[in-house]
């Protein structure tokens, strides 16, 4: 498919177990993600995919196990810190600022990279404007990349669902992440929108070299764009490997049997 170089392991998840009250959401999950690869986590509904993403993201704190990102082993972390380490994400239920323009939404994605503080903003207008322009240039590149020039100034709330998803991807990209977590990026889309989204995911991976972990419920799309796939079912890992391996894995076939697609 491409001449992308897949590098060393960048994210390592080891023996993660997570329970809410009596419900075991994840049990003993381990896998790794290599630099520049597209890694999918799939599984039927309730398999624990979103929980897994939230563990990586720092929203949930697992009872057992560890997450190692860029060689740094983590105990507990909050999402804010994880974000500042270079992890950005999108949400299954779009979490954009509906009343703000696309441009402003993307600019908020640069928050962590803004250096000026409130004091400077009040007194050093020129320097702050220069910084703003620098960020704006980067954001414009993303707007160009995602082909959303025509909606730059449109309030996000007025956009159709598919475009909102694209804007959310844009906001995540604005943070220039090394690791991008996509929570069901194609959910609720029609075939054409899904194809567009696939193309953007691949382009992001190729042009920016971003490592991508994506969760999908629907096997079909993911298989085409992923380098390796982890399959979860009832909080357990039942498969891990290339799309072809996974497709022929009996446990996976069983898990998906009876699940309508």
């Amino acid at each position: 498919m491409s001449a992308r170089k897949i590098g060393e392991v960048i994210l390592k998840v080891e023996e993660i177990s997570l329970a809410f009250g009596g419900v075991q959401a994840l049990s003993n999950i381990s896998f790794d993600v290599r630099e520049h690869e597209v890694r999918a986590i799939i599984g039927p509904n309730g398999a624990g995919k979103s929980s897994m993403l939230n563990v990586i993201n720092g929203v949930y704190h697992p009872q057992k196990g560890s997450v190692t990102f860029k060689g740094e082993k983590r105990a507990q972390m909050d999402p804010h810190k994880v974000a500042s380490q270079g992890v950005a994400r999108t949400f299954q239920n779009i979490a954009l600022f509906k009343g703000m323009s696309v441009l402003d939404n993307l600019m908020t994605g640069r928050t962590l990279m803004m250096k000026s503080n409130l004091f400077q903003q009040a007194f050093y207008w020129g320097a702050v404007q220069r910084e703003e322009i620098k960020h704006r240039e980067r954001v414009e590149e993303i707007i160009d990349f995602l082909e959303i020039q025509s909606i730059r100034k449109t309030p996000v709330g007025r956009l159709p669902y598919g475009l909102q998803k694209r804007v959310e991807l844009g906001r995540a990209l604005a943070a220039e992440p090394t690791l991008l977590l996509l929570d069901e990026p194609m959910a609720g889309m029609n075939v054409e929108e899904k194809q567009d989204m696939c193309r953007f995911v691949l382009d992001v991976n190729e042009e920016f070299g971003t490592t991508i972990v994506l969760i999908e419920h629907d096997m079909g799309v993911v298989m085409d764009i992923s380098d390796r796939v982890v399959v979860l079912d009832y909080g357990k890992k039942i498969g891990d490997g290339s799309p072809d391996d996974v497709r022929n894995n009996q446990a996976v076939i069983d898990a998906y049997l009876g699940v309508a697609h």
């Binding site: 590149e141 707007i143 160009d144 025509s150 730059r152 190729e206």
Partner: protein
């Protein structure tokens, strides 16, 4: 105004050189890139064209070669056109949304070896057919996104091509100027493939001389000059874009502005504020629809204001606009003040939103434009005019002069153009903008250009008493009633379709006693109308059969008849009887083409029984029709259709009430 040396014997590359000498720092092109308008002066343009030409020359492009140009309106692609011309070659622009298999035919016929394309999408299309087209040696692309890992030896980045060209220029100083020197005015400047609605696509070869002469006429006609601004957003392969963008930027020296993307055209218009605008009726219609939707969503006060002042504009706006060119003022002071107030409150802001605040002249052409649409723009003070022409004549056969605008004519013949009406009613044109030939199709060329050098347009038309040309239909579709009256079905159908309640209409009358029509109502519009008067209905067929609906449509048809009555040529073809069809004509049933054009022959056979009834004295007809459902099943629909008579008018009646109205 730009002083240009006599344009006789000039070519576009010579004009480029001249602009870069006489007004080097004037803007030649703008492009919005990453949210910012980037300007290229004439010197910048020359530098890039020179580099591109060098690169092409280094790869072996030579005089007489054709260069394929595929993509949206980008400065780089316009430069590629200029580079090809400078080298004595011929640019062949393609429609960017054409599919690979269609492109293949043209690429093959034009013997394309070199192509300059916009992006991955176009590269992919070419790669798909490359194995069948061994002649193609080089494909240069502008936007490298997604192409990084493509290994095909033919591919070259446009930037590297320019670098190559700059190297080439070092070892071949003056190659550019020398090559331009060798160019002659009667060389072919561009090859424009007509979309080929009839038969295979044909490459229209236009010379520098013809294009420049035409552009000169256009410049004079509307006083275009270097201060004008144009947004080029129509397909590069279309003659309209080539003439109004490419040729006129050379001749009038104004700046071309390329939109950021096809979706941003409206925003870009607003930012650029073009002074000259050209669009087919469809585009004007889309804009109007968007305005109306937004108005309906606006607050009550705004909506009321809008409708009130649009009423004022409708009443006096067009007269005020005409007064600007004719000097004849017959609008009361009060109305003029109201209109001024409207300009401040409504028209001004609206034109600003549409990006038309600075439009001096706007044109439309290609198909008939509806009266409501036309009046809407003109009443706002936008000088919208119609023109008539085709690729083969560099468009510009007839155009409306400011102050001499009529809804259903296309204006008087342009200076230097002679228009004749053949005995058959066909419009014949002798024009300085006449094409040289259809590329490699001498037989076709001979067929359309007669022994006296007139071009057969294939359109039927006539001159009205004021000397304006009126185009009524394709010549082959025009027939005669039994009494010899001209019968132009499309003209009648269009007039009917301009009513929002009529979706489709098919007129009959050739070799008959009188004209009749079959009508499809517009489900949305008529449904809405019915709901507002609490008229219940169960579906299309039910609604179509309602007496009230028949009355509504009969009024529309009567209005058409009234219009026809005032035209001596068409008075006899008033519609005597009509029927509202029980089902919508559908492309799936073969009644329409995929582009929603009526298939006269199919309909004539399928509904022979109805047509017979239209020409009998019956007041209804029972029909059975096969119908495909959405799920693919086929069923039979039975219905009794009413046939109604419509009032017709004598010319005297039309004239007298027209006087009363005035």
């Amino acid at each position: 105004m730009v002083a240009l040396a006599s344009s006789m014997n000039s070519t576009f590359p010579r004009m480029l050189l001249q602009h870069s000498r006489t007004r080097p720092n004037a803007p030649a092109m703008r492009e919005k890139n990453l949210g910012i308008w980037q300007t290229f002066t004439w010197v910048d343009t020359l530098e890039r064209v020179r580099a591109l030409a060098g690169g092409l020359a280094a790869l072996g492009f030579k005089r007489g070669d054709n260069l394929a140009i595929i993509g949206e309106n980008r400065p780089q692609l316009y430069w590629a056109m200029m580079a090809a011309q400078a080298l004595g070659g011929v640019p062949v622009p393609f429609y960017q949304d054409g599919i690979a298999s269609e492109m293949k035919i043209v690429l093959e016929e034009a013997g394309i070896q070199f192509a300059v394309v916009e992006d991955q999408e176009q590269v992919d299309k070419l790669l798909e057919i490359l194995t069948d087209l061994p002649a193609i040696k080089h494909v240069a692309f502008d936007d490298p996104r997604g192409l990084r890992h493509y290994q095909q030896p033919q591919l070259v980045n446009l930037d590297s091509l320019c670098d190559l060209g700059r190297e080439y220029a070092k070892s071949h100083p003056d190659f550019f100027e020398k090559s331009v020197e060798q160019g002659r005015a009667d060389d072919v400047a561009v090859m424009l493939y007509t979309s080929g609605t009839t038969g295979a696509p044909k490459g229209v070869c236009q010379t520098h001389a013809a294009l420049i002469a035409t552009a000169e006429v256009l410049r004079e006609f509307d006083n275009l000059n270097a201060d004008d601004n144009v947004l080029c957003y129509l397909p590069m392969a279309w003659v309209g874009d080539f003439l109004y963008s490419f040729a006129l930027t050379h001749v009038a020296g104004f700046c071309l502005n390329c939109p950021e993307s096809p979706e941003t055209v409206l925003t870009d218009m607003k930012e650029i504020g073009p002074s000259f605008y050209f669009a087919p009726p469809r585009v004007y219609e889309n804009i109007l629809t968007q305005v109306m939707i937004r108005i309906e969503d606006a607050s009550t006060i705004k909506r009321k204001l809008f409708h009130y002042f649009m009423g004022v504009a409708k009443r006096v706006g067009m007269k005020i606009l005409d007064a600007k060119s004719t000097g004849v003022n017959n609008v009361s002071l009060w109305d003029r003040m109201l209109y001024k107030l409207g300009e401040i409150l409504i028209y001004g802001p609206l034109k600003n939103v549409l990006g038309m605040s600075r439009v001096r002249v706007a044109y439309t052409g290609g198909e008939a434009i509806g009266p409501d649409l036309f009046d809407f723009y003109r009443s706002l003070g936008i000088n919208l005019k119609q023109l008539y022409g085709m690729t083969e004549t560099c468009v510009t056969v007839a155009m409306q002069r400011s102050g001499e605008v009529k809804l259903d004519t296309v204006g008087k013949p342009m200076p230097g153009v002679t228009v004749k009406i053949a005995a058959s009613g066909e419009v014949l044109v002798l024009s300085p903008g006449m094409m040289k030939e259809y590329y490699k199709k001498p037989a076709d060329t001979a067929e359309v250009i007669d022994e006296n050098g007139y071009f057969r347009t294939g359109d039927a038309g006539f001159f009205d008493p004021d000397g304006h040309l009126k185009i009524i239909d394709r010549a082959k579709d025009v027939g005669r009633l039994k009494d010899g009256t001209l019968f132009a079905p499309k003209y009648l159908e269009n007039k009917l379709k301009f009513f929002p309640h009529v979706k489709e209409a098919v007129a009959f009358g050739d070799k008959s006693d009188n004209a009749t029509a079959m009508i499809n109502i517009d489900m949305a519009a008529v449904g809405d109308w019915a709901e507002r008067r609490n008229l219940g209905y169960a579906g299309y067929a039910d609604l179509a059969a309602k007496t009230d609906v028949y009355e509504l449509i009969r009024d529309c048809v009567a209005k058409v008849n009234f219009d026809l009555a005032s035209d001596p040529n068409l008075c006899g073809s008033q519609i005597k009887r009509f029927v509202i069809l029980h089902k919508e004509l559908d492309a799936d049933d073969g009644e329409l083409t995929r582009t929603r054009k009526v298939r006269r022959r199919v309909i004539g056979e399928k509904y022979a029984k109805i047509i017979d009834a239209l020409y009998s004295l019956d007041e209804s007809v029972l029909i059975e029709a096969q119908m495909k459902f959405e799920d693919g099943r086929v069923g039979i629909v039975k219905a009794t259709l009413k046939i109604e008579d419509v009032k017709t008018f004598t010319p005297a009646e039309a004239a007298s009430s027209a006087k009363k109205a005035a």
